[in-house]
Symmetry: C2
Amino acid sequence: MEDVKPFELTREFADSLKQAIEQGNDAYIIKSLEGVNSADITETLEEFTTDESKYILNLLDTQIGADVISGLEEDTRKRFLRVFEPEEIAEYIEYIDSDDAADILNEIPTKTGEEVISSIENEEKAEHIVDLMRYDEDVAGGIMAKELIKANLNWTVEQTTEEIRDQAENVSKIYSIYVVDDQNKLLGIVSLKKMLLAKRGTRIKDIYESDVISVKTYDDEEEVVAVMRKYDLESVPVVNMQEKLMGRITIDDIVDVMTEQADEERQLMAGISEDVEEDDSVWVLSRARIPWLVIGLMGSFFGAEVIGLFENEIAVIPIMASFIPLITATGGNVAIQSSSLVVQSLASKSAFRETAMKRLAKVILVALINGILLSLLAFTISYFRRGDMDVSIVVATALMSVVILASLSGTITPLVLDKMGINPAAASGPFITTMNDILGLAVYFTVAYFLI
Amino acid sequence: MEDVKPFELTREFADSLKQAIEQGNDAYIIKSLEGVNSADITETLEEFTTDESKYILNLLDTQIGADVISGLEEDTRKRFLRVFEPEEIAEYIEYIDSDDAADILNEIPTKTGEEVISSIENEEKAEHIVDLMRYDEDVAGGIMAKELIKANLNWTVEQTTEEIRDQAENVSKIYSIYVVDDQNKLLGIVSLKKMLLAKRGTRIKDIYESDVISVKTYDDEEEVVAVMRKYDLESVPVVNMQEKLMGRITIDDIVDVMTEQADEERQLMAGISEDVEEDDSVWVLSRARIPWLVIGLMGSFFGAEVIGLFENEIAVIPIMASFIPLITATGGNVAIQSSSLVVQSLASKSAFRETAMKRLAKVILVALINGILLSLLAFTISYFRRGDMDVSIVVATALMSVVILASLSGTITPLVLDKMGINPAAASGPFITTMNDILGLAVYFTVAYFLI
């Protein structure tokens, strides 16, 4: 550590690299990227044009280039790989783990992908990738890697160590060794620590742990995340229906899945329809935002129709109009609170769910308590501020009804969405909020119609 | 695997355990929990009363009991540990990693905590825990564990293996061995894989990697998450200002931090003021929800005041009232879209930020594009539906202004909150939405005042 000055990404550094590319100063580029972590090179290249990036990549070691390519953001990589020949891509793919390789090949056009696969020299690797490409993105099979170390039950520790030596180049991170029988059926695991501490000549069957936690190829990625979190695992073996060992999922994949989930939930809650980031182009950003805004707008016009039905009443008692935002805002707040509690509880699966009836009873109780409090408060403020008893009673009654309805819709909607296979976080998004607005207005003016 | 029937958590199983406790049927309890993963026992106990849980824990191996205790949710554990004597807690603490132990001791009353510490037999452990309790919860020092394997630069692989053997009981998961000099200064790392593959007699200094990525004890947990994610690390060493090795953070801690962050963000966006879950009591749930509902209500009354100023205009042109939800809903949607994009970009730190001016210019451009589209649409619908040119112009103009203002406030608020050390996700919450409502209403009626 003493001599390693931590590498610092600066715009100056990026600019000096760009200048070197222009001048064809290869020696400078090679020297300044020597010993730099591939993740830092990746971050730098995110700022570069495709041609500049390719120029730099050609000067680097293939392994580092492969790490950079698999570290790039999907958008950047798609654009980037367009300037590469299939053979060039294949060369990098040889150094990329099978799970990331399959993801990359799924991103590029099918024809190019097939050319890449037929150019991969390591046949086993090519087979692995083709195999992985069959799985859906969001099941265990779609996130697992084929690279793993397995040992037969009857091997000795030395034989297994030899296997690790042979595979060391292919398997970058080893957490445990999977123990299988002659039919490749998963029997258990041995930790690397146990291997290191075992006496010479010990057989795997004497040190392996047989109660291993595994997931199935067809398990949902959410389930995999839940299992790895619950049992605190850094890697989990993936088996097929016949319990045969098919691959393994490592914790870094889980961290990626969790980040994706958080991003998706945030975008659903905010009503953004594509996976965009702040540094995307103005056009992409507008396009991602407009659909939900238009839906919200259309919904509000329906709301306007509802209010329009009561124009005569409003003309007579214009104070009625003042409380429109009170009704819609409170309804929206209650609904979003309810739905996000459901989303949270769906995310942390527990074996002991309360029964549907019990949950609903609780939702209604909470709604009653909060509804009563809010209605009393609203009644008091409205009465003392305006002195109109009738209007105050209408506001309090409507508010109470809206709180209960919004609690119910906020609770039921995410559950229904989840059952339909839609991300329940959408229930906190603009579509449902707009629906709630319309519902709230209808309640408010109906109550007004009957009470005034 | 063949004989291990995967354990299944069912209510029946939980009930049969409860019955056994009542009957004092210890043999049944011991037998049915034999070989069950501690995470499953933890999940079962979350459903039990404190006394039932203690009864079961007393029958289990201390190591398993310790795993169960450190796996419990904070609320449950707090309640649970109240029925234990300090000496009993100390016994479990001996088996819990120092980072989790420090967290647990921070949860219980200070006096009990001190009694626990003085009852810990392993003095080094007690020292470690006291040391860790000094750090803030949300910095690297507060999440690191003291348990790690370190080797002196001059040791051989065999000496290091001996050290691992000595420490094996204390350090549950070993990813790498940290290499230090005689002053405990961090010099580099050696992976377990390299150790296993090294020839006999090899010295650490010949196989260690010197460019190790480390974090400082005072680094924010967000920074630690970012570093571990960027460099794809399963553990990271923590050093102090003098580069001395103080502890290590493992990926499972990061997964926990990420889950906490996601929960916190969701609750801030939804306006829930405590860390509650759907299965908390009705009272806790109401209490967590009411503050933001009241704030929203008060805000809406301010909005009502704004509308009240224009009561005369509304009495004359009651259609004006119909478009109130259109203005507030669109403003809210735009603001939440903007703020969540900022929150997302703050979460994924990049070295190359666009300049403030460039970002603001982009925000305004996107707002202009979307504002023009929405205004045109609103003008068209409103005109064809109502045929009132004046009102349609007012609605379109007000909508345009609200979209721009909401984009700006939605972008600037999270940035300001972040600078103030407040979680920027609060900008998507009810307080800011309420502010936006009031702003939108003021704009709408001001435009109406001048144009009609």
